[in-house]
Symmetry: C2
Amino acid sequence: MLGLPKGFKVSAVSSGIKREKKLDLGIIFSEVPCSAWGVFTTNKIQSASVKLTRENLKKRKPQALIINSGNANCFVGKKGMKDAKFITGLVAERLKIPKESVLISSTGIIGRPLPVKKIERALGDLIENLERESLKDLSLAILTTDKKPKVRGVKIDIDGKSIRLVAVGKGAGMISPNLATMLCFIITDAHISSSALREALNEAIQDSFNSITVDGCMSTNDMVLILANGLAKNELIDLKSKNFSLFSEVLKELCLEIAKEIVRDAEGATKFIRITVRGAKSKEEAKKIALIIANSNLFKSAIYGEDRNIGRIISAIGQSKVNLREEDIKIRLSPLNRRRINLEVWVGEGDKTATIYTSDLSPEYVKINASYN
Amino acid sequence: MLGLPKGFKVSAVSSGIKREKKLDLGIIFSEVPCSAWGVFTTNKIQSASVKLTRENLKKRKPQALIINSGNANCFVGKKGMKDAKFITGLVAERLKIPKESVLISSTGIIGRPLPVKKIERALGDLIENLERESLKDLSLAILTTDKKPKVRGVKIDIDGKSIRLVAVGKGAGMISPNLATMLCFIITDAHISSSALREALNEAIQDSFNSITVDGCMSTNDMVLILANGLAKNELIDLKSKNFSLFSEVLKELCLEIAKEIVRDAEGATKFIRITVRGAKSKEEAKKIALIIANSNLFKSAIYGEDRNIGRIISAIGQSKVNLREEDIKIRLSPLNRRRINLEVWVGEGDKTATIYTSDLSPEYVKINASYN
């Protein structure tokens, strides 16, 4: 596994939020304050952890991020914000940094108050264990129904300086744009401005986290964060820098890899499906059509059953409300007895294309989601 | 079973479209031309049978309706319309009525040409067997994955005349508004104008076929038709008649009963779920929220598993894009160990309400739809 970017430390413990002593609390710490940007769920109901992280990002350069799984800290009334502030306050105190420079992210059950006492008791160990070795424990601590941790890293050379970007993600169900209904934290030692991070991340998520769907269900807790502490000491990358596009491309690729990992790990999935819509008048229309196919239970069930049911694709396309002519539609579907399925749909003479990644719908998905505690 | 309205005859045969000699071709015939109205799928891709029926309804008072199951006559290029015209032409010839007074409806597999020769061969028997006895065979001939036929009838008294309305429906999957993605044919001997039928039917479908969902998937072949032949000889019911509202109410109730039957027969369903959203600012907003819950795979899987997962409801509500405040939301969910589930959601201080009927999502749904031929 690729090492951490310079100046970052991580740690994870089992605090008792989840049963069976599973890892459920993690922290990322940077020795110095970071440039940062975040993208959040567009659900009208949002976790208090999402709300506080939004607020704090506006106030200060972040230096730490605490993440818990097993509890979403959502739909718990005023206690949600109180708890989020209490926990970030404790972290700030122990790390001796301002409380607004601590971000918080939560994922898990909605509507149940965060067990703050358990988290408080675990904080000592969590912070004491901070180290530079590996993201492995942290990548496990942020999971819920995921089968596998999702970590990707890349090393690039800018101005003769070696820069690392490392991303850790979470997500297996409740996955639907926009936002991608999942968590992803990216840390880098690049020296880069927050405005450049904003531009690069907003762009990167469009073709990655906003182009995947598992079940069309949008979470209340989604969050993609990038933290850049500048310790690689490259010349500052700003919007106008010659290296901005290189950084953006690398970030985009990294986000896409994590996004694909999420789809591969989709609840109950047996297939990884790539849907490309071509010949549309606009990218939005292409994406709309690709998404309505990707979210069709009938299409997803047919792919699970390896049943070449073109009618399901046709009726989904027609449901998208995009104006099109039946005679323009062409469909190419790869053999279904493989794990990777490619569906290409031509909808007209336009030159716009969009790609969406999704999974099949299996009886296993229903079983997993029939009982989740 | 209630008898047919005066002057209507029906018949059904096995023409060989479906395997295993199942009933797959039916006809409804009225001795005299009918006032009529139809409502059709809003899918951008539509069956040629839908298109021809739309056209013919504008041209003439209908007198016959031929219905096939096993093949949707959809996405087959120009052959679709040619076949629909050929079949309605044959029916017209044999019944000695104008070809535009024959309507056609199809349901089944998309993208496969209609086996017109088989249908042509079966027409003789079909028409010869026309009789007034029972809708039973016809109600079976229009089914696809349905487990049960769906027939409802009612007798009302208007001006001392006894009027009958009989409805026969089809639908178990690919059920989502708008339209309700199913078939329903209503015949009555009421003497009523087409404009009154239009008004009454448009109104009736809103709270029935447009308020049910099984899987959010919209069909290319949906059709609700009402045919009224006037043979009850009541005073003409027009929009301004005192009896119009009575007729409308009865029609609405009849449509709702068939709609509920469709939900009860939903593919793989083990639960019948009634979702009522109250306190909304408009009926549209209430319906939008109810529908997004009803179409959430996570919610439907939890109900299947009898798992009281309020978070799934909360996150679906937030996904609806309707503006609301977390603190206004109240949820009441009936015990889950029953077949009938009631979910009531309050979303604010408004006075608008909407009710949606749906089913749970079971592993069986996926299995049924993993292989459908």
